[in-house]
């Protein structure tokens, strides 16, 4: 059996799709997603994986935007609903609802948290000069979460700060 001859017959997956895609990119890449009608983006290097929504296990007395924890291949990953955290849109769980799992590595620790968003949309290549500061009088998203704004065609995308997103607030007991 000539394995090499057989191997040549197998079509290489993605051979076609390579055409027309510009692999030589400059600047940083960002994954964009939707919260209601608004576009947001995070650094693509922080993205661990994108999962479909599944019902998590509740954490007792957690704030409402923390939906609970899921099992991601043996790792316990907390799930944060960004729509509830930022107060944007409705927290409905549809077929397009996805969880973006982000890992952020600070000096001592690395933390993995999943974020519920309405849909993932695109990958953007952005030069750092194109990132513009956000206006100080903002909406419901606190300024500490925003790294800047970028223009993508006729829309504006908000770049979120992963380090701040990953910060966990202490529970408060409510009687």
């Amino acid at each position: 059996m000539n394995i090499q001859a057989m191997a040549q017959d197998i079509p290489v997956e993605g051979e076609q799709s390579i055409e027309g895609v510009d692999f030589i990119t400059s600047g940083d890449q960002y994954l964009t997603f939707l919260l209601a009608e608004e576009q947001y983006a995070v650094d693509i290097l922080c993205v661990e994986e994108i999962r479909s929504w599944e019902r998590p296990t509740k954490i007792p007395n957690a704030p409402s935007y923390i939906k609970g924890v899921i099992n991601m291949r043996g790792i316990i990953v907390p799930i944060v609903d960004l729509r509830l955290k930022f107060g944007i849109g409705e927290a409905s769980y549809l077929e397009t609802t996805v969880v973006i799992v982000l890992t952020y590595q600070s000096e001592e620790t690395s933390r993995t948290i999943g974020f519920v968003v309405d849909a993932v949309s695109d990958v953007l290549n952005v030069e750092s000069v194109d990132i513009k500061p956000a206006p100080a009088f903002g909406g419901c998203v606190g300024p500490q979460y925003i790294d800047g704004l970028i223009n993508s065609e006729h829309k504006v995308v908000t770049i979120l700060n992963v380090a701040h997103l990953q910060k966990v607030e202490k529970h408060r007991l409510h009687s």
Binding site: P56, T57, K58, I59, P60, N61, A62, G68, V69, I70, N71, G74, I75, I76, V77, P78, R111, T112, I113, V168, K170, H171, L173, H174, S175
Partner: protein, 717 residues
């Protein structure tokens, strides 16, 4: 031939610390004439010196060399083994540990202590002057040297057998400068007499270099005990070279540890020996202080060490059994996959058999893997002989330590965390428990106090007992002190164990005076908290005048827990089986509502407060009715509570996963686990839940108090 040596440093450190431990325990058990022990101590010191030299930890090498020289004299019987010398050697072991730790952390160390000890060592050796001179000469030589050295290298015949090859040494020398070699074949026997494994040659080398003599000596580090090495600097000044030669000869003599000892040295040694004894006597008082300082320094250094990833040495038998099990697992797997290729209903029975076998294999594999993490508790017990030795000197009490069950195995993580609480308990026993010799004799007890450490398995737990035959705990003193502190009412009637439990209250110390050893900041409350953090508990038994026993009960491992699965609303929770007293269906007649909405359940003689989990955790559930609900009675800190649950599910072993890694510690939850269906379930933290319920009740009371004050304010208006 350049190898990156730094990759071997961790194993050097590990081996060195093991060597130090060996030296320490050897020294503590050292009896005069016990050659085997002396040899093993010497070997340990020697390997540390060799290793340290290789990795360039010069401070360690220098210091260890002194220790080694002293040990060598003992080994050869040229020196009596006295307790004074043992003391100095023990102190030296501390210094070596300090130096190695400093080398590891690239940190500073207590230079005074090391200098002091090395001075004492040199004095004991009686050759302080010579060694000082020779180091000086090395230094001055190093500076004066310009052109190079004549090196006379006469190896012992057995050199090649130890794996050393002179060729490597010479090629290393050529890296330092221009080398010319001439071999001396005088000793070469007739061809028929030659043993092919022996080395008969000696060499005369001339090295033209500008490096220090120390660097050349370093090359010969590994063989210096098996050769005669003479270094002579090539200088224009012939007289200087003469003196140098002489001094180096003396120096080399020490280094090579040839048996010939100069007569003068022997004489001075005798003279100094008496001096040292006096010296040592005066030094004894300061010794205690120094060790205490060293301890505090050591604890400062540990956090850094803990951050590193540790390693375990595993017995080959454990690994073998693991390999066997994996082999069986592979067989089961291939059987099952073969069954799966053309499956029909007729093969169901074979499938169930196969799955059963798989279950068995997995279970055994799990147990085996867990066993790898298990270490004999002697790792934690090893430090105590030294501790007692030091404490006996410091307190002036005569005591001995008896260790039993040191082969009992315990999880590595538990072992690491139980060390400090145990030290505290042993110190307490030595300081507060054991009386002074006079009191003991007056009370008709043996003069020497005994502290015993015992470890054994009991059920799924390990029990560690710290027992002393001292004065015991005076119940009335503890009681009075507690009343004084306002912890209990003066009229309260308490059982003995309740009284002894007061010892673990924060800020509780019955010691009349605070001593250096115990009775300081860290109290028994910390001990208790640490033990509880490990999922264990501590009990005290004591008889006045006879002694006390502290019993520490610990789970064997932290990674796996036996749990009862319960359902509350849509969520599944796990209650640790160890904390469950009983599970029952509520009988309506036994429910009492007291002090405004507090629900008590009468369980025989006890009244158990009922905690509905759905309220505590803010869950929505259909079963909010307490009548006929299921109650799981659990106990923590001697407090019983009934947890109201919707349903009792299976009992199973669960693997504990931390919530802290990606989230944070959650009140009332000790961790999470993954169930068979892949979903996550929370493990309940019973003491945490009780304190949560208390907090909630207090909040509610505060709100009510506020409300009341508002009402009165309105009335006033």
């Amino acid at each position: 031939m350049s190898v990156d040596l730094s990759q071997f440093i961790p194993s050097f450190l590990e081996e060195s610390f093991e060597g130090l431990e060996l030296m320490e325990s050897g020294l503590l058990n050292l009896q005069p004439g016990d050659n085997e022990t002396i040899h093993s101590i010497f070997r340990a010191a020697h390997s540390i010196k060799g290793g340290a030299g290789t990795f360039g930890f010069d401070s360690v090498t220098e210091f260890t060399h002194l220790v080694e020289t002293l040990l060598d004299e003992m080994r050869d019987g040229r020196r009596e083994i006295t307790s004074k010398d043992t003391e100095i050697l023990l102190e030296s072991v501390d210094c070596m540990r300090l130096l190695i730790e400093a080398a590891r952390d690239e940190a500073d160390y207590d230079k005074d202590k090391v200098a002091q000890t090395s001075t004492r060592l040199s004095e004991t050796l009686g050759n302080e002057k010579i060694s000082a001179d020779s180091t000086e000469s090395i230094k001055s030589e190093g500076k004066a040297a310009g052109s190079g050295y004549h090196i006379k290298f006469v190896p012992e015949h057995s050199l090649a057998k130890t794996g050393n090859d002179p060729l490597f040494l010479f090629s290393a020398l050529t890296e330092l400068g221009e080398l010319s070699i001439s071999a001396n074949t005088e000793d070469l026997p007739a061809l028929t007499d030659i043993d092919a494994q022996e080395l008969y040659l000696s060499w005369q080398l001339t090295l033209l270099t500008e490096v220090d003599e120390a660097e050349i000596v370093e090359i010969f580090e590994w063989v210096e005990d098996e050769c005669l090495l003479e270094l002579t600097a090539i200088t224009d000044n012939s007289t200087a070279s003469e003196t140098n030669k002489e001094e180096t000869a003396v120096n080399v003599e020490q280094v090579t540890e040839t048996d010939t000892q100069e007569e003068t040295t022997a004489n001075t040694q005798e003279e100094v020996a008496t001096d040292t004894q006096e010296e040592a006597a005066t030094d004894d008082s300061s010794l205690g202080q120094v060790t205490a300082e060293e301890k505090s320094k050591a604890t400062k250094a540990t956090p850094k060490a803990k951050a590193e990833v540790g390693s375990i040495r595993v017995g080959v038998d454990k690994v073998d059994s693991l390999i066997n099990l994996v082999g069986e697992l592979v067989i089961t797997q291939s059987m099952l996959s073969e069954l799966g290729t053309d499956f029909d209903m007729a093969k169901v029975e074979r499938l169930t058999n196969g799955l059963e076998q798989l279950l068995q294999n997995t279970k055994e594999l799990q147990e085996s893997v867990m066993r790898i993490r298990m270490l004999p508790i002697s790792f934690a017990f090893n430090r105590f002989p030294r501790l007692i030795h030091d404490l006996a000197i410091k307190t002036g009490k005569a005591m001995e330590l008896v260790i039993k069950g040191e082969q009992t195995e315990l999880d590595k993580t538990v072992m690491e965390q139980i060390g400090d609480p145990l030290v505290h308990l042993v110190r307490n026993a030595a300081d507060h428990g054991i009386e002074s010799s006079e009191v003991r004799i007056a009370n008709g007890k043996p003069e020497k106090g005994t502290i015993s450490l015992d470890a054994y398995h009991q059920g799924g737990n390990i029990v560690i007992e710290i027992n002393d035959d001292g004065a015991g705990i005076n119940r009335s003193i503890v009681f009075d002190k507690a009343v004084e502190k306002g912890l209990i009412d003066a009229n309260a009637t308490l059982t003995d164990s309740q009284v002894y439990d007061l010892l673990f209250e924060p800020g509780f110390s019955t010691a009349a005076e605070i001593t250096d050893i115990s009775g300081r900041g860290v109290g028994m409350d910390v001990v208790k908290r640490n033990i509880q953090a490990l999922g264990g508990r501590i009990q005290v038994e004591s008889t006045l005048g006879k002694g006390s026993t502290f019993k520490v009960n610990l789970p064997l491992t932290l990674a796996i827990l036996d749990g009862q699965l319960v359902k509350v609303g849509s969520e599944t929770y796990i209650i640790p089986l160890i904390s469950i007293v009983e599970s029952l269906q509520i009988d309506n007649k036994l429910i009492n509502r007291v002090s405004g909405d507090m629900v008590l359940y009468r369980l025989r003689d006890d009244n158990v407060p009922v905690l509905p989990i759905y309220q505590l955790f803010d869950l929505s559930t259909e079963c909010t009715e307490i009548n006929n609900a299921l109650l799981v009675v659990v106990e923590a800190d001697g407090q019983k509570v009934g947890l109201m649950v919707d349903d009792l599910l299976a009992q199973q072993q669960v693997v504990i996963k931390s919530l802290k890694d990606n989230y944070q510690q959650v009140a009332g939850i000790s961790g999470a686990t993954i169930l068979g269906d892949g979903s996550v379930a929370m493990i309940l933290d019973i003491p945490g839940m009780i304190s949560m319920a208390l907090e909630k009740a207090q909040q509610a009371q505060l709100v009510r108090a506020d409300g009341n004050s508002n009402v009165t304010a309105e009335v006033c208006l």
